[in-house]
Amino acid sequence: MAPKGAAFFVSPAPVHSRFRMNYIKAVFLPALLVLVALLGQIALLHAQKSPAATDDVLLATMEKELHRGQAELARQDPAPYFTSYNVTDGESLFIIGAQGGILSSSRARHRSADVSMRIGAPALDNTHDQERFSGITSGQLPQRDDPDAIARVLWHLTYEQYRKARQAYTNVKTKTAVRAKDEDDSPDFSQEKPSTYLEKTSPAAFPEQTAWEELARRYSASFRQFPEIEESMVFLTAVRSHSYLVSTEGTKIVTADAVFRLVIQAETRADDGMQLMRVETFQSSDPTKFPAEAEVATKVKKMASDLSALRAAPLAEPYSGPALLSGRAAAVFFHEVLGHRVEGQRQRGRDEGQTFTKKVNEKILPEFLSVADDPTLRTLAGTELSGFYRYDDEGVPAARVEVVQDGILKNFLMGRLPVKNFTNSNGHGRAQAGLMPVGRQGNLIVTSSKTIPDAQLRSRFIEEIKKQGKPYGLYFEDIQGGFTLTTRDLPQAFQVLPVMVWRVFADGRPDELVRGVDIVGTPLTVLTQIAATGDTTSVFNGICGAESGSVPVSAAAPAMLFPDMEVQKRKYGDARPPILPPPPGAMDDKGGAR
């Protein structure tokens, strides 16, 4: 269940800072800490042997210890009815560059284990309601393939998890006895067919640390020619891993994953203190498909000129009227406004707002719009999708889910936590290592049967502005992310964080860039008003955070015309731009001392 005040957000960058430019204190250091905490006991240097899918010591040891534990714990009262081991065995490279220097660079090997266990019965078990997090215990496994050592650590984690689950089960029984019956009395765990899948892949090529450091130096040094950009950083991330899952139900899955990401982030401040940010992300499952340097240089130049334009741009005024969202902007909008609200677990639980719980088979969008979440798609419109996976984190095969068909709500994104009338998982139970999976988005795709060519959409937009007698409408070209609140005790609100927003005038004047715009509103009303869409699908790849941690996601949509969109002025800090100019020497051959 979502904790009180849960907010969900999506961001294209590994580091996302909006309200404070001071990344280091606010975001950057915590993010690094988090990275390190997650990688946990990191190791580096040479991966001895690349983790192979089959007949490996790790998988054999996991299975053996799982079954031994099951047999032993069957003699306990209460005995667990389900146990699983998830192990992520991988390596990662994480480099941060700024102004041509390396701020941080680490190569790590990690092997982390999650032991999940359930006591009671699927109808009511230790993970019920507020005790959901009693379902899992995590730890670091030895990296060396020593079966005795691995088995011992698993044993230790297993009996600790047993104790945790048993205590929670007692609490659950007590609470259930004294509390009023839940409105949705669905079971706590769905019955699913076990899966077996052993992915044999030769591991993806892994970049050389020194070569990527050099890239980080070069890319970050290109900001030296833009002294008006206050802070800039280049993040290079490479992760390659195998995920292992074995359960007492008979599931046995090994999958291979690789993701390589380049994120470039630049920030500056307007004279009134407003923080302005641009982020560019390149992502691939193959590091050799990274963009050419010339392409990166062009993006950097564009980021710099965007930021200069934003610095000079007038402040947006509160506004209500026609708005045109680019495909990327519309994609983030749907991820926040619709996607998070159709996650299965939000349909039960006393704290949830349950916006759509009772709207199944009702119209929630214009009939020309359909929404599906399809994690089985690797690419869309020529772009690799971040939200691709074969099996979810509960071992259920990924499946395409038709969430909304022709405007009618049909389905929710389900993990193994059932909700009323939705008794089974549809392969959307996702979590980051160490957390209990819940229904999450993978690749959320919005399609339209009422498209008009993008160029005509603009004319339609201007017509709409004129029709409403407004002097201008707002065109949202790019958005850096967003967040949404779904709980009952907070407003059912969402925000997306637009960065490039233009006034499009009714009288044909050139478009004018404005800064400091936030879209606001409540989900049900905004969604039904969409008037038309463009004919090109754009993809937003990002990382989504919620109660089960951060998972990679994609959202895709065509551009959309909203006849009535409400925007507010963004709150912003009043810290002035730096008092002194940047230090001299930016162009002296990287400082001269090397």
Binding site: A7, L580, G585
Partner: protein, 596 residues
């Protein structure tokens, strides 16, 4: 399954969401929380303190630092970048309506660290971290009253590890800008807060200090090939195979080199290098009644050469295993014991560290509080706090004591003030505190003890804190003295503490029988009343040979003490250490064929 991208984006919105990430996932390191490192032969416990992990986490770093750069002061790019930004900030940093800074300080900590651990004979992790951490303090106001308050206490940033003057200056520039703005807000906030408070005797906010220039050599890791050390960790932790009842057995090492740069606007320029090598072994087991029993040992040195040989380390490991077995079979302490207790020098060093060290720090209390310091001895200045045969001093200038190496050696402290020997307790009377540049009542100037972890503001910390007796007893006679005290009180036995663990809990505790002097190991004892009061009233004798306890948190320091004899302390049965035995037995061991 989806790939787990290991980065969480913190919600910029500041809305609360489930905090999921920061907790250690390692059940094997949770239990010990005692940043103790100790060397004396019979003792110990090294633990990874959380804050160390934090500092290191900031510095996950690996690229090579160019070796040529730092060998001389003139070619030192970090020093050059710091100087150039300092000059520029001093000359020009000034906002309209806000006074210019009266003081600016830059501290760069360049860290190179290798860490590894093995559990049950298999490598669990190894990690090399390098990086440069910058801390900037800007003060506005004046020495009497300034902005050092809340967000005005400094900003933190990383600077590139490449020797690239511009890239380094760029981050210093931004950090200085943030620090100055934070300082101006902090000063207003402080003045507003002070209006609500009545301060009887205001003390200056910052002490004046003479500028110093001291550029010392940089330190380097003495080896970068760690293979044999990893093998040793695996070999040592593989000894769990001899005892099926061990709950955990692990071995770890941490080799650290820290180079520190310090510059301030008063003209102080300092650079120093330190190295610290530690290797440790730790194990735990449960007695048949479920009591958790733990043992650990750490060896350390300023050079790899000072670490034990493989044979010596394996011998230590065997001793840890042996004592765990003995503890498991040892009887539980009596329900209650009140009587004489003898602490070995090793155990005594822990007691001194826990009970004396925190109370001799001259820390300024919170705004508006009139106490002199924050410790238990804040109102004990010129009073008797220990028996009259005890002296305590701190001396950062020494690097050994009775042949034992010390780790609290430094020339300048982290505020650029020359280290001084400070006599703290003379004949039992508290005569001074350890002072940094933040004055306390009656102590307007630093005595060279303003020290800081890389991420923190400087504060008073010891260097080498030494407790000595003016009437040292021969160590060999102390047990006889214990027996004599017990006989006088008609007690069948006295207690002897060989080593201490965290929270002042004895790990190896023996009954010493009065009738024949034989010793019996017991388990499960905790002190009822071991506190500063008992140090003053119940301490009756001290031995001769010191043992040294080394701590690395928040700064490296050493504490030395001889054995201490108390004529009355209470020891009772611990309730906390009882746990359930595992619900099912550990997996059976395979053939040891895959051992390293």
């Amino acid at each position: 399954m989806s790939s787990h991208i290991s980065l969480v984006i913190l919600s910029a919105a500041g809305t609360s969401r489930s905090e999921v990430t920061a907790e250690s996932k390692d059940p094997y390191t949770r239990r010990e929380a005692h940043p103790v490192c100790r060397r004396s032969a019979s003792a110990p416990s090294l633990t990874r303190a959380l804050s160390a992990a934090v500092v290191l986490a900031l510095l996950v770093f690996a690229p090579a630092i160019s070796a040529s750069a730092a060998s001389s002061a003139s070619g030192d790019v970090v020093l050059r970048a710091l100087r150039e930004e300092m000059e520029r900030s001093k000359a020009k940093l000034k906002m309209d309506d806000v006074p210019a800074p009266y003081y600016i300080e830059y501290r760069v900590t360049e860290l190179d660290q290798f860490e590894a651990s093995a559990v049950f004979g298999a490598l669990r992790n190894q990690q090399r971290n390098r990086g440069r951490l910058l801390r900037v303090v800007v003060r506005v106001g004046d020495y009497k009253q300034d902005s050092f308050y809340g967000s005005g206490e400094g900003t933190l940033d990383l600077v590139p590890s490449d020797d690239d003057v511009f890239a380094i200056r760029h981050r210093i520039w931004l950090a200085t800008d943030r620090a100055y703005k934070a300082a101006s807000e902090a000063l207003s906030a402080k003045q507003a807060a002070l209006k609500q408070l009545k301060v009887d005797e205001p003390v200056d906010d910052f002490a004046k200090a003479l500028p110093v220039e001291a550029v010392e050599p940089l330190a380097r890791l003495s080896s970068t090939d760690f293979t044999s050390w990893i093998h040793l960790l695996e070999e040592a932790s593989a000894q769990y195979r001899t005892d099926k009842d061990l709950e955990n057995f692990e071995s770890s090492l941490r080799f650290t080199v820290e180079n520190r740069y310090f510059l301030n606007s008063e003209g102080t320029i300092a650079r120093s290098g330190h190295a610290h090598y530690v290797i440790s072994i730790a194990g735990s087991t449960q007695a048949s009644d479920g009591m958790l029993l733990q043992r650990s040992h750490a060896d350390q040195g300023n050079d790899l050469k000072e670490l034990p040989t493989r044979e010596a380390f394996l011998k230590t490991t065997a001793r840890i295993l042996e004592t765990l077995k003995l503890l498991r079979d040892a009887p539980v302490v009596d329900e209650e014991y009140r009587g004489p207790v003898l602490f070995s020098n090793d155990a005594a060093a822990t007691v001194v560290t826990e009970l004396i060290e925190p109370n001799v720090l001259g820390r300024k209390p919170q705004l508006g509080e009139n106490a002199r310091t924050t410790g238990k001895w804040s109102s004990s200045y010129k009073s008797r706090v220990l028996p009259d045969f005890i002296n305590v001093f701190d001396d950062p200038s020494i690097s050994t004591l009775s042949g034992e190496p010390l780790f609290g050696n430094y020339t300048l402290d982290d505020e650029g003030v020359k280290a001084q020997r400070v006599s703290l307790i003379e004949k039992g009377q508290l005569v001074s505190y350890l002072i940094g540049r933040q004055p306390i009542r009656g102590f307007p100037a630093s005595n060279g003890h303003g020290r800081a972890a890389a991420t923190a503001a400087p504060a008073p910390h010891p260097g080498n804190l030494v407790l000595q007796s003016t009437d040292p007893q021969p160590d060999a006679g102390l047990k006889a003295k214990l027996i004599e005290l017990c006989k006088n009180r008609e007690l069948p036995y006295g207690l002897y503490v060989e080593t201490m663990g965290p929270r002042l809990e004895p790990r190896l505790l023996y009954r010493v029988y009065t009738k024949d002097g034989h010793e019996e190991l017991v388990r499960g004892g905790v002190f009822g009343d071991l506190d500063v009061r008992s140090l003053r009233s119940d301490l009756v004798a001290a031995g001769t040979k010191p043992a040294v306890e080394d701590r690395s948190e928040p700064v490296w320091f050493s504490v030395a003490s001889p054995a201490l004899l108390f004529d009355e302390l209470e020891i009772k049965r611990s309730q906390a250490t009882k746990q359930k035995l595992p619900e099912y037995p550990p997996p059976t061991l395979g053939a040891a064929a895959n051992q390293p």
